[in-house]
């Protein structure tokens, strides 16, 4: 059987697509976590800056025609409480600079009392500026008091670096977990396919029953076509077996008639040439008849193999009966045939098939053994089972052909003059193997064939 060409692998494709999506998701997680954290860090810094600016704004008093700002100590020291930061501030009344750092830029877009923020570079370093303002009444009317507070970003940068490291770790962890899950998912997705493969390849050579085990819905069409394919195969096999059996049966009866007529004609024929011709004809008819019989036997064996009955078979009785049954023929050929071994052994199996197998073997032995030879059927007990050994003193099996003798219609090189179909040993082998046993074909050291049938103890 040729191995099917593999093109791609479902498991690999599944794994790769799962991993690709996991990698994309891990990247997304990394960036989302980082951007959220960046936003949160920015907001918390802005809040602190705004609180600082507002506390300065709150400390401003208008007194005696002059603005006094009692800068709270905490307004600046709180900006430095977690990490060392450079801090700048500026207080302005409208556009008039009051105190602080005169060049500190203000955040634009101030409206009402909502703080505004901006990023800028001041005195050589990046800073975040928060600006707030309040309406105050002065001598010359209403004006705005504006406070801006700025802070360097070293603490925020440290925090962001650590967040970046952490979100990278989260992304990597997410990816690792995804890899594990993807492997598991791919494995479990493929499992029904593996199970189906295993259940189909575990079957015996003649098991063509439909697959009944439940399968995932995606595999139902495949299994349905497999089942329908097997049903057709079985049907066609059965048909051909039936056809062969029917044909053999139909051929046998007319052959018997033809043979009887030929014998009558032979008896009445005076001409020796006609006599010889008719003898050859009868021989050929026997051959055909026997073949037809064995084809029938084989069909029967094939049928029974599918529905093996489990009788208790006494091997001693089986061998004795078989020898007795063929006694008339062995006497005719002047062949001594006996069954030895007194110990009885019982196996489980199909009585009729076993009889048939043994008959075929003994029949073979009788056919290929010359007159005056001896055939012995020995029953042996082993630790692991039983053995029926049939030995003869005939010519033995031809060397180099023993492996092929059990193929259908294979006949030995020495079989030209013997009536036979080549199905006998095939039937024996199939029966023995259906019973879990083994057949070995050898030649005796002193000449003659030896066939041994091993059955495991049941």
């Amino acid at each position: 059987m040729s191995k099917p060409t593999a093109h791609g692998s479902i498991r690999r494709r599944l794994l790769l697509s799962l991993l690709a999506s996991a990698a994309v998701l891990a990247l997304v997680v990394y960036f989302v976590v980082q951007s959220v954290a960046r936003q949160v860090a920015q907001e918390s810094q802005d809040n602190v800056l705004a609180a600082s600016a507002l506390s300065i704004l709150d400390s401003a008093r208008f007194f005696d025609g002059e603005i006094s700002v009692d800068l709270p100590y905490s307004a600046l020291s709180m900006l430095d409480s977690i990490s060392d930061e450079r801090v700048f501030y500026a207080i302005r009344l409208e556009n008039e600079f009051l105190t602080g750092y005169v060049e500190l830029p203000e955040a634009n877009g101030l409206s009402g009392s909502v703080p505004a923020f901006r990023s800028a570079v001041f005195l050589g370093e990046e800073v975040r500026v928060a600006s707030v303002r309040r309406r105050v009444s002065t001598d010359i009317g209403q004006s705005f008091l504006q406070v801006s507070v700025a802070q360097t970003l070293s603490g925020q940068k440290q925090e962001l670096a650590s967040i970046s490291r952490r979100s990278m770790a989260i992304g990597a962890g997410f990816f690792l977990v995804s890899v594990l899950l993807a492997a598991l998912i791919a494995q479990s997705t493929i499992r029904p396919l593996d199970r189906l493969t295993a259940s189909v390849s575990r079957r015996g050579p003649k098991d063509l029953r439909p697959v009944a085990a439940p399968v995932p819905s995606e595999m139902v069409p495949l299994v349905a076509s497999l089942n329908s394919f097997m049903r057709r195969l079985q049907l066609s096999l059965m048909r051909s077996e039936d056809f062969i059996a029917e044909a053999a049966h139909r051929v046998r009866t007319p052959l018997a008639i033809v043979r009887t007529k030929a014998e009558i004609v032979q008896r009445n024929a005076d001409n020796p040439e006609t006599h010889a011709a008719l003898r050859e004809m009868i021989h050929a008819i026997d051959d055909s008849s026997r073949t037809a019989g064995q084809l029938l036997d084989h069909a029967m064996v094939t049928f029974r193999l599918d529905h093996l009955s489990q009788d208790k078979i006494s091997l001693r009785r089986l061998t004795r009966d078989a020898v007795d049954h063929l006694h008339p023929i062995s006497e005719l050929k002047d062949i001594e045939m006996e069954a030895v071994g007194t110990d009885d052994l019982i196996i489980q199996g199909d009585q009729i098939l076993m009889q048939n197998a043994l008959h075929n073997l003994l029949d073979n032995a009788l056919k290929y053994t010359p007159s005056g030879a001896r055939i012995v059927v020995t029953l042996l007990r082993h630790d692991d089972g039983a053995e029926i050994r049939i030995t003869d003193t005939g010519p033995g099996f031809p060397d180099g052909e023993m492996d092929h003798l059990t193929d259908r219609f294979a006949r030995g090189a020495n079989a030209e003059n013997v009536v036979g179909s080549g199905l006998g040993l095939t039937i024996v082998k199939e029966v023995v193997e259906a019973h879990g046993g083994q057949m070995h074909i050898t030649n005796n050291a002193g000449g003659g064939a030896c066939v041994s049938l091993h059955f495991p103890s049941s």
Partner: protein
């Protein structure tokens, strides 16, 4: 290594075109030997000399030019006039912080700076190498049988009970003149309201105002003063005649100034500055330190009351011109009652 040239330049340093005022100047080490480390400092030469000597012992090829200026003059020299120094050493923590905050300092990191406790380093720019408490210095001889005050309350009570004895004989910093005095005063007001009461009492007793700790100690020594308040304990302790004084670390709270070093942004030889900073910090921190202030001035005695001034932008608050104006006017109205 005792061979160093010492020269006094009393008015203006030659070579500095602009006009910041220096108080004193000294050269140490082999002159003309190549690398020169220029230090501007508020510390008296005598106070800082041991550190220079030990540095030169390890780096004999170096010449050190040591310039003493007041903290405000130093601020002017670096911040406004941009004179190039390799190292700025000052007791005025607020001005040092402002210099660093305004970008006038270089960042410097080394093994020595990284092993500093958190309070002793700011932004890798300022490095503290002393802890010097503001003490009450009393003349033992002139105090006679009066009990020594242990904290500010006892001092106030003592002054109130004996106004005639103490009138005109108590002294403290003129915070308008002295940066350090201003720093101590502002930190005192942060810690407790007692400061204002004490200042009122000082005002009532016609307290004398001084520019510097050494002058106050000298005045106590001569008997001109009975009590000097907020004097640098380290200066009193480093004197040969320290046994004449009682140096009191107030047990309600003791304000501790950290003397800090900073490498200016325009330092001509920053590598040498770094080496000196490392040397300074190694000798000042850790179990084997040989600090500049006298070891008998044991701060662990008053650990609970220790009010170590924190380096950071909080110090900028009292430098704010509006804030400073308000503070000084309040202070003046308290102390100048006549």
């Amino acid at each position: 290594m005792r061979q160093f040239a010492l020269s006094f330049v009393l008015i203006f340093a030659a070579g500095w075109a602009a006009a910041f005022e220096i108080e004193n100047r000294a050269q140490f080490g082999a002159s003309g030997s190549g690398q020169v480390l220029r230090i501007i400092s508020t510390a008296d030469i005598g106070f800082f000399e041991p550190m220079i000597i030990s540095f030169l012992a390890e780096n004999p090829d170096t010449e050190i030019d040591y310039v003493v200026a007041s903290s405000t003059e130093m601020m002017r020299a670096i911040h406004d006039e941009g004179h190039a120094f390799d190292l700025a050493i000052s007791s005025a923590m607020d001005l040092q912080t402002k210099l660093a905050n305004d970008g006038k300092a270089q960042r410097y990191t080394s093994a020595a700076t990284q092993s500093l406790p958190d309070w002793a380093i700011w932004n890798d720019m300022l490095f503290a190498f002393t802890q010097e408490p503001a003490a009450i210095v009393v003349s033992k001889h002139a105090f006679g049988d009066l009990p020594l005050p242990r904290d500010r309350h006892e001092l106030i009570n003592l002054l109130r009970q004996h106004p005639d004895r103490f009138r005109g004989r108590v002294g403290t910093y003129d915070v308008r003149q002295s940066g350090l005095g201003y720093l101590f005063a502002t930190q005192d007001t942060r810690a407790s309201e007692t400061y204002w009461r004490l200042t009122e009492v000082f005002g009532a007793l016609e307290a004398k105002l001084y520019c510097c700790s050494s002058d106050m100690i000298e005045a106590v020594k001569t008997g001109e003063l009975l009590i000097a308040y907020n004097v640098l304990g380290s200066y009193a302790m480093n004197r040969e005649d320290r046994s004449d004084f009682a140096i009191i670390l107030p047990s309600d709270f003791t304000t501790v100034m950290l003397r800090t070093a900073m490498i200016p942004y325009n330092a001509p030889s920053p590598v040498l500055s770094g080496a000196f900073v490392d040397h300074l910090l190694r000798r000042s921190h850790g179990p084997e330190a040989q600090p500049l202030s006298h070891p008998d001035l044991d701060l662990s005695r008053v650990e609970a009351a220790l009010n170590r001034i924190r380096i950071g932008p909080g110090l900028l608050v009292f430098l704010d011109q509006l804030k400073k104006r308000a503070f000084l006017s309040e202070w003046e109205s308290a102390i100048l009652q006549n």
